[in-house]
């Protein structure tokens, strides 16, 4: 039963990533795409944790931590870049 509920949750998160990817494609501006990218990486973090549960490997949590750190740094750099003249 736990596996079925987790499969449904993973499908919902993948659907959410697809919808956010449309915003990343059609976003009319630079900052809209950055917001969509920020939300997309956080959803990808949950997918990595889910995958680590299905493959029974604890190493995936380290991958998720480093990926979250890198995405935070990337979004921060882009936001700092946007405050200057684009």
């Amino acid at each position: 039963l736990v596996d079925i509920i987790l499969y449904v949750a993973g499908g919902l998160i993948l659907l959410a990533m697809i919808i956010s990817f449309f915003r990343l494609l059609i976003g009319p501006d630079f900052m809209n795409r950055t917001v969509a990218f920020d939300a997309l990486t956080i959803m990808a973090l949950s997918v990595v944790v889910l995958l680590g549960f299905f493959l029974k490997r604890q190493n995936f949590l380290d991958v998720a931590l480093v990926y979250g750190l890198l995405s935070f740094l990337g979004v921060m750099v882009v936001a700092r870049f946007g405050e200057k003249e684009l």
């Binding site: 949750a9 956010s20 956080i42 949950s46 935070f72």
Partner: protein
């Protein structure tokens, strides 16, 4: 039993992430998109990690570290993005009826104004849509402004 409760909490977090992506796709404005796309994803991902703490209790340390990390860094990046978007003077949707009326009145005055071109085109479409749902008196003015 603990695993089932944890799985239900993970499903709740997945539903919150789905609602966040829906708001990110549907909202008319960058600040509304940021509101939907960062607050709801923070709560949703924290619920997902809390559910995995209940499912696999031996993974609690790294999952707790991830929860604290998301809780600290996600509002920070959202704040930086909002400040950058405010600094660039991006398009802001007119949501209340007074703002719509003020927008249409101002648009008649400075037809050769200094607002950005795609901003005006966007504001007319979105304002007409919101005005229909909010107040019936404003739709005539908004439609007149669009033509």
């Amino acid at each position: 039993m603990l695993a089932i409760i944890g799985a239900i909490i993970v499903l709740l977090g997945a539903i919150l992430l789905f609602i966040a992506s829906l708001g990110l796709f549907r909202m008319p404005d960058i600040f509304n998109r940021m509101q939907a796309g960062t607050k709801a994803t923070t709560l949703g991902s924290m619920l997902v990690y809390l559910g995995f703490i209940l499912i696999e209790p031996t993974w609690w340390a790294k999952l707790l570290l991830l929860m604290v990390f998301i809780f600290l860094t996600n509002p920070l990046s959202s704040h930086a993005l909002a400040r950058s978007a405010l600094f660039q003077k991006l398009f802001r949707a007119k949501l209340t009826s007074a703002e719509i009326k003020q927008e249409t009145g101002k648009k008649y005055e400075d037809a050769s104004g200094d607002t950005l071109d795609w901003n005006v085109a966007n504001a007319v479409g979105d304002g007409a849509d919101v005005g229909n749902s909010l107040d019936e008196n404003n739709t005539a003015g908004v439609d007149g402004g669009s033509k």
